[in-house]
Symmetry: C2
Subunit: 206 residues, 2 copies
DNA sequence: AAGGATTTTATTCGGTTGACAAGCGAAAAT
DNA sequence: ATTTTCGCTTGTCAACCGAATAAAATCCTT
């Protein structure tokens, strides 16, 4: 039976279609939540951006809250996979610098991350608690072990180091339209990203 | 005529009352806009926090948009007066460090500022344009002239320096509840503010 | 071709939004 | 003392919100 079982382009076309739709909705949710915050984003607008309708969101995700969690899971999933790929290098100082550059490049590729942090970190509600315990604390622990390995950063200064690094590395990308208007520099350009990565790396490790 | 013209406690009691009410509303608006963004903040909640009613906001300010502008004017008015009080010091390097510490202290006292920037800087709408041209550009020009005076920062790096400084100095205060939960450090404490000011100052000018 | 999962369309519900208009009452002007 | 002014309160409005539902349409699977 040479040409048997034709017709169906793929055995799991259904599951793939389902997954593709979910991903489209999540992608639209990430953009919209990052732009307007949880309250400001409506499921109707998310559906419109995803090219579907509001009813489908209720079908795939139980609620707006669950959709938000799926969006955050996706973003921090990207961060986790990027961060775990550490190029255990030669000079420990240069390795640390490269880690910082890597973080800045990630912040440039995903400016939504800082927006989510600023949007949710200011209110002490259930969403913030979930975000911290599920995603931020593991990253914070990673950073703590790394700084111990390399430079001797006093334990008490770790919070200051963490937020200074995150803020310095990602703000310019999170307010890209403003930066363009204010300075004329387009921070989404590859050249600007590398310049900022080098600038922040040299700032922290001269 | 010793006790003449009594009765009226003050000649302009009416105007004073009006101004006091406006200020109460603006203060409530700053808190609410900073917490929930422009869309997430409702005029009813702002009125409730100000101890009045929603109709009064429409009376004093024509629209929610005008109220937002009044709130931003107030915040950046604080920044301007703080920034202009530069203590032309002795060692130019130490003077610059003190300027950075001063900026961090301001960011701690007014964490709303970064939230306004992140909230509005991400969308290229009319509010962002107004914010940049009216308030941010003058501060950016100030910074440019100061860095020229002191250290020889290449012109092309000024945008990177600006956003790195703003981000490093203020993020920790803008996500204070998150910081408390994540690290146990309360960034609103006087001691933590001074530590962060010194940390950022030494980061930029070792 | 039948069957079932995905998707669309439509509707309902309780609630919130910003803007507006009419009227109240005390201060101010005459 | 009467009238006018004006800061303020109250109630109303259409538009939109999120969530839930139901039924029909579409498409993959078998």
């Amino acid at each position: 039976m040479p040409a048997a079982k034709a017709a169906t382009a793929a055995p799991h076309a259904r599951a793939r279609q389902r997954e593709a739709t979910r991903e489209r909705i999540v992608a639209a949710a990430i953009d919209t939540f990052a732009e307007k915050g949880f309250r400001g984003a409506s499921t109707r607008e998310i559906a419109r951006r995803a090219g579907t309708n509001q009813g489908l969101i209720t079908y795939h995700f139980r609620s707006k809250d669950a959709l938000w969690r799926a969006a955050v899971d996706t973003i921090f999933g990207w961060l986790e996979s990027e961060w775990s790929a550490s190029p255990s290098g030669l000079d420990p100082r240069e390795t640390a610098r490269e880690a910082i550059r890597s973080w800045v490049r990630f912040a440039a590729a995903h400016p939504e991350l800082l927006r989510f942090m600023v949007n949710e970190g200011r209110e002490s509600d259930e969403r913030m608690r979930w975000l911290v315990e599920t995603h931020i604390r593991p990253r914070y622990a990673d950073l703590a072990s790394r700084t111990n390995e390399i430079a001797g950063l006093p334990e008490a200064l770790l919070p200051h180091f963490f937020y200074a690094l995150v803020g310095a590395g990602s703000l310019i990308f999170s307010v890209a339209p403003e930066c363009r208007r204010l300075t004329g520099l387009d921070p989404t350009r590859e050249e600007a990203i590398e310049t900022h990565a080098e600038f922040v790396a040299r700032l922290i490790l001269p």
